[in-house]
C-alpha cells in the first residue's frame, strides 16, 4: 500500500504534476529527480574520438586481405593449368626424380633450412620495419 503510494508520488513528481502527499516526501523527491538529471562527471580526454579512429586498422592492412585472396586465386589457377597441361601432354609421374635426389639428402636439408632462414629474416628485419614505418 505504502509502496504503491510512493510509486504514484514518483510518477507525479517526474511528470511535473502537482503531487498530493506529505510535503517532505514531495520536496525530497523533487531534489532526487533534479540531482539525477545531472551529469555524474565522468569524462574522456579531449581528442578521444580521434585517438580511437587512429587505432583502427590501416587501409594497407585491410588491403593485405585482398592480396592474400589474389595469391590464393593465382595458386588455384596455376594448379588447374598444371593439371590441364599434364592431361593434354599425357605426362606420367614416376618416382625416378625422388630416387635421384635421395642420394643428396644432406644438400636438400641444408637448402630447405637456408630458404626458411632467409624467409624468417626477411619477415623480421624488412617486412616489420616497413609496417612500423607506415604505421606511424
Amino acid at each position: 500500500m505504502m509502496e504503491h503510494f510512493d510509486e504514484e508520488l514518483q510518477k507525479a513528481v517526474e511528470s511535473g504534476q502537482m503531487p498530493v502527499g506529505p510535503e517532505e516526501d514531495i520536496t525530497a523527491y523533487q531534489h532526487v529527480f533534479r540531482a539525477l538529471a545531472k551529469d555524474p562527471g565522468y569524462a574522456l580526454p579531449p581528442g578521444f574520438a580521434e585517438k580511437v579512429a587512429a587505432s583502427l586498422p590501416q587501409k594497407g592492412q585491410e588491403h593485405s586481405k585482398l592480396v592474400w585472396i589474389g595469391y590464393a586465386a593465382g595458386l588455384v589457377f596455376m594448379t588447374v593449368a598444371a593439371i590441364f597441361t599434364g592431361l593434354m601432354t599425357g605426362l606420367k609421374l614416376h618416382l625416378g626424380f625422388f630416387k635421384e635426389i635421395s642420394s643428396y639428402t644432406g644438400l636438400v636439408i641444408v637448402a630447405a633450412v637456408l630458404i626458411a632462414a632467409v624467409q624468417w629474416l626477411d619477415h623480421k628485419l624488412v617486412t616489420e620495419r616497413i609496417r612500423g614505418g607506415s604505421g606511424g
Binding site: D6, E7, A28, Y29, H31, R34, Y42, L44, V52, A53
Partner: protein, 186 residues
C-alpha cells in the same frame, strides 16, 4: 545530430571522419555506462576505447532493430561487466544490493545541506555508492532518456527488474534526503 542510418553507412563505407563523429556522438553514453560499473578512473578510458573498437568491428551486423544508442549501450555494459569479472571482482548480486541499501541508510549526512548545490552533490555521491546495476539503470533512464524496454535490452535485465530498481533506488535516495532535511530543520 547526424541521422543514424547515414552515419552508419558512412562508417561502413570506410569514412574515418564519420567514425570520429560517431564516437563523439556516443562517448558520453559510453563513459557513463563504463563509469557506473568500473570504479577505477584510470581503466575507464581503455575500456571505452575497446567498446568503440567493438562497435566498429560489429557495425555491419547492426540491423536497426533498436536505436543505435541502445545497441552501443549494450556493448558498453557487457564490456564493463566482463572487465570487472576478469579482475575477479564479483558483479553485485541482489543480496549485495540489500547490504548496500543498508549501508546507504546508515551513512552520515553532511552538516550543512541548505545549499541546493551541496544537496545535489550529496545525492550524486549517494548514487555513486549504490551497486552498478542500480547506477546503470538510473543513468540510462534519467540522463539518456531510455525506456524500460531499452534499458532491459542494454543490461539484459527483465523489464520488471528495471522498474523495480528504478523505484527502489529513488525511494532509498528520497528517504535519505528526507532524513537529512528533517535534521536540518530541527
Amino acid at each position: 545530430m547526424t541521422d543514424e542510418k547515414t552515419l552508419v553507412s558512412r562508417v561502413l563505407a570506410g569514412e574515418r571522419e564519420a567514425f570520429v563523429l560517431l564516437v563523439k556522438q556516443y562517448e558520453r553514453l559510453v563513459v557513463h555506462m563504463v563509469g557506473r560499473v568500473v570504479r577505477h578512473a584510470e581503466d575507464r578510458e581503455e575500456i571505452c576505447q575497446d567498446v568503440f573498437m567493438r562497435v566498429y568491428q560489429n557495425l555491419g551486423k547492426f540491423k536497426f532493430e533498436s536505436r543505435l544508442s541502445t545497441w552501443i549501450a549494450t556493448i558498453a555494459y557487457r564490456q564493463a561487466v566482463n572487465y570487472v569479472r576478469s579482475k575477479k571482482a564479483p558483479v553485485t548480486s541482489i543480496q549485495e544490493d540489500e547490504r548496500i541499501e543498508h549501508q546507504l541508510m546508515e551513512a552520515s549526512t553532511p552538516e550543512s545541506m541548505f545549499e541546493d548545490r551541496d544537496l545535489d552533490d550529496f545525492i550524486l555521491k549517494m548514487v555513486d555508492a549504490l551497486s552498478p546495476a542500480y547506477k546503470t539503470v538510473l543513468t540510462l533512464y534519467h540522463l539518456h532518456g531510455m525506456s524500460y524496454d531499452e534499458i532491459g535490452e542494454a543490461t539484459g535485465m527483465p523489464e520488471g527488474t528495471v522498474k523495480n530498481y528504478l523505484f527502489r533506488a529513488r525511494h532509498l535516495l528520497k528517504e535519505k534526503i528526507k532524513a537529512s532535511i528533517g535534521r536540518e530543520v530541527l
